[in-house]
């Protein structure tokens, strides 16, 4: 469009009023819309988490009944998965920075981009309305036949998840098209920042896997509403078939949740080590490798469900392969820090925290992929601890790191570094206090989704509950640091970290069109020399 650039104009004040936000086609503003919604959902999901830990502080019933607990447990899981972690990085940070990082004005389909946000909000609205129609108590996995027999509002909730799925598909579609078609002159695929590679790999999974979830959820609705019998043994169906369908989506979905985080960490490590990333190609292609392999591992959720031994062995073996590209990334990041110039600003602290926790999440994943060990640990708190180390210790740490890293660019203000570091201390410590004991609970045999437990498990549960308060404090401090940043209005420079990717070459906050003039790229993304 070629707007003449007015001094002081940026995407935030380019247009004014609530309506301009609700109808915006600017990828940056849509990213902010996602930011606000995801923060809100995270608050709700987090309060449910605190309630779960509070109830489990002592054996026996403390504050809430078993039925209510089951609803809280279900809502915590599904809100965090469908409304926080899946849209978290791609639709918020990805939306904002993917086009800028490849030197584009916007995503390929701005209207679809806005539609994707409305899908998330409508889906979330539908899902939440289930609370007024009897709630939902199936767990986020909706396993049949329980989800068919329960009297709670499964259909409403599942339709909500169905609609939210389209949000994910549309974002993925947009990213694939944008990455292929809108790169600036000279921005070859092999010059793209690793965050873009990670988002691109994620987008492939989003587009290919999410429709399978949509179909599965519709089958579930048909089963419940019409009694067709896909999954009902008494009608000739197979309850385990649902698990195959569900995990065919939901295992790749785990990589939808973690791959973008791996991308963020690559950016942070390079920027705060002031050093070119070690093994760019290996990291970039390992994202694609993880995405590809992720489609062939779903059966590792089903070693004890009655799946054949041969199928189990194949799934176990392939799952082990995922460990290799993951290990490559971790080693390459450490190698990047070698002979670097490292500063421990808060984003870097989060990146280091990520590597610490994600490594633990990774090695325990290998244990769970081992058939004989999984027979013992399946559906115990070991699994709960493992995926929280990956999803919270991994993805949420990366989101926090990413927010602090890009906050000056997004809003043009600096935040209090002291508060940001303090939030890291609380979240990192609290996280370990909460979830490490759960590994031990799991090896001792405590099953997951338990409202009550035998007295032997009491003290570790108590420690875990204490830890959850530290995490809460950490996030509150994080929120305060952001609110204060908006109030103090300390102007951020164009490139506070001395980073080399394209978003740091434009003003903070960016103008509506991102670039005054589309840049020409003639080098890699991490040219620290």
């Amino acid at each position: 469009m070629g707007h003449a650039h007015v001094e002081g104009s940026n995407y935030l004040n380019h247009e004014k009023g609530l309506w301009s936000w609700l109808t915006t086609l600017d990828h940056k503003r849509i990213g902010i819309l996602y930011f606000i919604s995801v923060m809100f959902f995270f608050l709700i999901g987090g309060l449910f988490a605190l309630l779960i830990r509070l109830e489990l502080m002592e054996p026996g019933q403390q504050y809430i009944s078993a039925d209510f607990y089951n609803q809280v447990m279900t809502l915590h899981g599904s809100i965090m998965v469908f409304m926080v972690i899946i849209p978290g990085i791609p639709a918020f940070l990805g939306n904002f920075f993917l086009p800028i990082m490849i030197g584009a004005k916007d995503v390929a389909f701005p209207k679809l981009n806005l539609l994707s946000w409305y899908c998330l909000i409508c889906g979330a609205g539908i899902a939440v309305s289930a609370l007024f129609a009897g709630g939902i108590d199936t767990g986020w996995t909706f396993y049949t036949p329980y989800s068919i027999k329960t009297s709670t509002a499964v259909i409403v909730f599942v339709l909500g998840a169905f609609v939210m799925g389209f949000s994910s598909i549309l974002t993925g579609l947009n990213f694939i098209a944008t990455t292929h078609k809108l790169r600036a002159p000279g921005m070859t695929m092999n010059r793209m920042p690793l965050f873009v590679w990670a988002l691109y790999s994620t987008a492939i999974i989003q587009v290919l896997a999410t429709p399978v979830l949509a179909i599965t959820l519709l089958l579930l609705v048909a089963e419940r509403a019409l009694g067709i019998g896909f999954f009902d043994a008494s009608l000739g169906g197979d309850p385990v078939l649902f698990q195959h369908f569900f995990w065919f989506y939901s295992h790749p979905a785990v990589y939808i949740m973690i791959l973008p985080a791996l991308g963020v960490i690559s950016e942070l490590i390079a920027a705060f080590s002031r050093k070119t990333i070690f093994g760019y190609t290996a990291i970039a292609y390992s994202s694609v490798a993880i995405a590809a392999v992720s489609f062939f591992v779903w059966g590792h959720h089903m070693f004890v469900s009655g799946q054949s031994e041969l199928a189990g062995a194949i799934f176990s073996g392939i799952t082990m392969l995922v460990g290799v590209p993951t290990a490559i990334k971790l080693f390459n990041w450490v190698a990047t820090m070698y002979k670097g110039s490292i500063r421990l600003d808060s984003p870097m602290l989060y990146a280091i925290g990520f590597m610490f926790l994600f490594t633990i999440g990774g090695v325990t994943g290998v244990m769970l992929a081992t058939m004989a060990i999984d027979v013992h640990l399946h559906d115990t708190y070991f699994v709960v601890a493992h995926f929280h180390y990956v999803m919270v210790g991994g993805t949420l740490m990366a989101i926090m790191g990413g927010i602090y890293y890009w906050f000056p660019k997004m809003f043009g203000y600096m935040y209090s570094e002291t508060l940001a570091r303090l939030s890291w201390v609380f979240i990192f410590m609290g996280f370990n206090i909460t979830f490490f004991p759960q590994f031990i609970l799991g090896t001792q045999g405590m099953p997951r989704r338990y409202h009550d437990y035998i007295p032997e498990y009491a003290w570790l549960n108590k420690v875990s509950t204490f830890g959850s308060w530290f995490i809460f404090a950490g996030f509150v401090i994080g929120l305060i640091s952001i609110i204060l940043a908006f109030r103090k209005k300390e102007k951020a420079p164009m490139n506070p970290w001395g980073a080399k990717t394209l978003e740091w070459t434009i003003q903070s906050p960016p103008i509506h069109d991102n670039f005054e003039k589309i840049p020409t790229v003639n080098g890699g993304p991490y040219e620290y020399r």
Binding site: G139, P145, G236, E309, S316, V324, A372, T443, R449
Partner: protein
């Protein structure tokens, strides 16, 4: 050599079954392998953070893009370790799925919210599995309503009980005592109350347990009754003569040839399907016989009885 890894004993439950030792050794190995990789990785990270901290904003850093040899090492070595762990885990798992012939058989029915154990002589018990020490035990499990999962932490065994399917599990305990038994598949309100006990007792105590207030008929006898009452007898013989349908004699565990050329082993799930959905496959030579379905006319318990009866027709 594995004795040096006696680490797991401090946090794993008591080793109550013959599987436990093997599983714990492998678990110990993975723990140590994890600790070592963690120390290498995070240790390296910490050293670099300290050693290469930023001195000034004009620091020059080395421009190192990659190193094929190193990258090969940290791809190949983890791959070898992962594959080793995979094979080790598979070998142990295979033992868990190789069912011994001389085992004591117990039918387990999960329901919301408890377990019913039925022994072959008709003896039943609720939420308490009593087994003799030093003898292999095979559980044949199913569920009345939703999926449950039978889990005994001390035995390191777990298997889902799925409605409409028969799943199997076996173990042998060489250690007298009581063991906690949990349901590990979320099943609703009282999921966390679905707790039972496995009691490993001496052979004499086990015999006494079996003899006490058992029902008058064994499962096979109940099956014979169902065989007559439900009318199976009209078309199936038990002495090998061919009536309208195939005979039941020697059928259990045999390989059945189908009219479409496929074959299958006659086991619990095959029997169940043949009763409830007889037109799914036809036995070779009987392709024109239309057996009516017994869907809704026989209960899961009666199917168990019929299975036990067919088993007894050697």
């Amino acid at each position: 050599m594995l004795h040096m890894f006696a680490f797991a004993q401090s946090y794993m439950p008591i080793q109550g079954s013959t599987f436990a030792k093997g599983v714990d050794s492998l678990f110990d190995f993975t723990i140590w392998a994890s600790i070592i990789s963690f120390v290498i990785l995070i240790g390296g990270l910490v050293i670099f953070v300290v050693k290469y901290q930023r001195r000034s904003d004009n620091d020059k850093t080395a421009y190192i893009t990659h190193n094929v040899f190193l990258e090969f090492l940290w791809s190949f070595i983890p791959l070898c370790i992962f594959m080793g762990i995979f094979v080790w885990g598979y070998v142990l798992y295979k033992d868990m799925r190789q069912f011994p012939d001389n085992a004591i058989e117990v039918n387990v029915m999960g329901y919301q919210w408890g377990w019913t154990m039925t022994y072959s002589n008709g003896k039943q018990s609720g939420n308490e599995l009593v087994v003799p020490v030093g003898k292999p035990v095979v559980l044949t499990m199913t569920s009345k309503d939703v999926i449950h999962s039978f889990y005994v932490p001390s035995f390191r065994i777990k298997q889902d009980a799925v409605p409409g399917k028969r799943s199997k599990l076996w173990f042998q305990s060489d250690r007298l005592g009581d063991y906690e038994m949990f349901c590990t598949e979320y099943c609703g309100t009282a999921h966390s109350k679905m707790i039972g006990k496995v009691r490993v007792v001496t052979q004499a105590e086990f015999n006494e347990f079996l003899a006490k207030d058992k029902s008058k008929m064994t499962l096979a006898e109940l099956g014979q009754e169902a065989f007559n009452v439900k009318g199976c007898v009209a078309c199936h013989s038990v002495d090998g003569t061919v009536k309208v349908g195939p005979s039941f004699k020697g059928l259990w565990g045999s390989t059945v040839n189908h009219s479409d050329g496929t074959t299958a082993v006659f086991d619990e799930n095959y029997a169940r399907t043949s009763i409830l959905n007889p037109q799914e496959k036809f036995v070779a030579g009987f392709a024109n016989v239309i057996m009516p379905t017994y869907q809704g006319q026989v209960s899961e318990e009666e199917i168990t009885h019929l299975i036990e009866y067919i088993k007894s027709l050697k």
